[in-house]
Assembly symmetry: C2
Amino acid sequence: MEAVPRPSARIADVAARAGVGIATVSRVVNDRGNVAAATRDRVLEAIRALEYRPSSVAQNLSLRRTLVIGVVLPFLTEASPIERVRGIVTALASSPYDLALYDVESADRQQRAFRLLADAHRTDGLLVVSLIPPDEEVRRLRAEAIPCVLIDARHDALPSVVIDDVAGGELATRYLLELGHRRIAFIGDKPADPFRFQSSRDRTTGYERALESLGVPIRAEYVREGTQSRHVARSIADELLRLPEPPTAVFAASDVQALGVLEAARALRIDVPERLSVIGFDDIEIASYAGLTTVRQRLFESGRRGAELLLQALAGEPAPARVETLPLDLVVRGTTRPPR
Amino acid sequence: MEAVPRPSARIADVAARAGVGIATVSRVVNDRGNVAAATRDRVLEAIRALEYRPSSVAQNLSLRRTLVIGVVLPFLTEASPIERVRGIVTALASSPYDLALYDVESADRQQRAFRLLADAHRTDGLLVVSLIPPDEEVRRLRAEAIPCVLIDARHDALPSVVIDDVAGGELATRYLLELGHRRIAFIGDKPADPFRFQSSRDRTTGYERALESLGVPIRAEYVREGTQSRHVARSIADELLRLPEPPTAVFAASDVQALGVLEAARALRIDVPERLSVIGFDDIEIASYAGLTTVRQRLFESGRRGAELLLQALAGEPAPARVETLPLDLVVRGTTRPPR
DNA sequence: AACTATGTTGGAAGCGCTTTCAGGACGTTG
DNA sequence: CAACGTCCTGAAAGCGCTTCCAACATAGTT
């Protein structure tokens, strides 16, 4: 490290200029009581003259806290994590905490996420989105007393904010059933990797339960999985719609996939909702524009709530490792209708 | 601050256990040479046994660097800043730097942004998006030798990554002119506040130039401004389309606003593009879904490039305060056509 | 007038790390 | 066998801040 000239004033400079000890400067800066008015004024004057601003790094070391909250999440490239981050940012805006963002998408995903989880000294608290931290790290976090809240993920030892994916799957499917559909297909995510929360799988379960509860048989050829993308969903939908007995309705595990279904239908000149009903999941912004019927989950709210829980824990109220379940709403728009 | 029990090992613990001095532990940890193999092994063993991880806060203080890059930006709630952040995240992923996010939307916008800019010790470098830092802060940054790169903003003393908004406005307008339109309206942003870069205003200039170059008169009633939102743009478009002599084409300063125009047209049963052409700006994701003709700016690329420039500066190559202009492309989709 | 409660202050010890510097252990060379 | 060079190593001095603690005034009590 080369010694770059550092013109910025340190606490000692202020103390020297004001003719007091550094302890007194610190008291003035942090507004601790017991400083004579005259002294305070001299110190404030020196601070102003030197444009002194305390080094947060030094404060961090001394106070053993960083005022930083780490947010670990995969797929910042997708719409729904972004929405959660917005919620987090909002909740943190009125707190003294800054936000450090760790995207875990790139090749070294686990690597990097865990480096952060591990390097506990770097953050005062952690928000983990759509990712399940390994037990090993959870143990460390507990040992170091670093609060951690999960969003869209669960772990026995950690508080979390989630939705009931099974219920969501049931909600969507039941709605289609109530409209009168019986040939209902499902397009879900690929089996998740061990560190991701299996929400799509749970939605499948909800789908199956809804069908079962009405005695509608589950057809294997109607249940498909593919990586979460419009493109893949589109080609899956294309296959489904070319079946000898095509579905009259499709439930997609995400809005993005639902949009892929709409594209496939459009390409095949199958009118939606006249000949095909489509329902998505999430209610991302584009869904309202596309007029997509969907199951709304409060993405923004999940981030906000998770951050709130973390702030509480940071404030000393030790939150129990409880699971908070956010509600889901059916949002009916223009892509669903009874079959003819 | 209460003294919370800190079970995590410090460098002294490792040194004690390995029977060496802390300097040696530091050497092993940082892989500095000159440590006997046997000693190194003992230290490594101790590190493993104690699950030692160096405190980055302490390292920061000692090394006078934080390995954190601050990203200051307004309106994280909108699509385009997000896209830029993605680019930044991508560029930073392969670097040792972490990313601290500062949204400047809330009430205390300036307040908070400048607190960061000011608290220089907190970050090694700064990326400022769509915001112009006040001269005062720029001076401080220079004094402290903190590199700073602007994205979508300009400042004489700072390097920046921008687009040519005037050219973009011209590009869009000229395209409509070439299609044969003569009654072309423009919907732009509200006059920006002093800290925002006036890109919408520049696009207006481009619009005017294009018209002038073809000798088409500029009609005041065709040039409108409103806050950047679908809702507002929709009502503005509604007014425009009800004019005695309504425009045959609308150029919106952003895709979001263009979508508002499409909604207004739909509500009035005015077919697009048959009776009305619409062109946007940005090419956000939803634009491709909506089939919107637009001027694409490389949002992701702007973030990536800005981060790259910053990393270069951080690596010691002192970047000149130069302006890098990213290209714009006309993306023709389904919302434009010659007038009848 | 002696003494105590109260209010202010600065010295110094940490916070946990990096790095300089000097010293010790060896092996080499003339 | 003395003189040197080469390697390793640890003590100690920072990095810039907070805070404990002791020292000192000063004012208020008896």
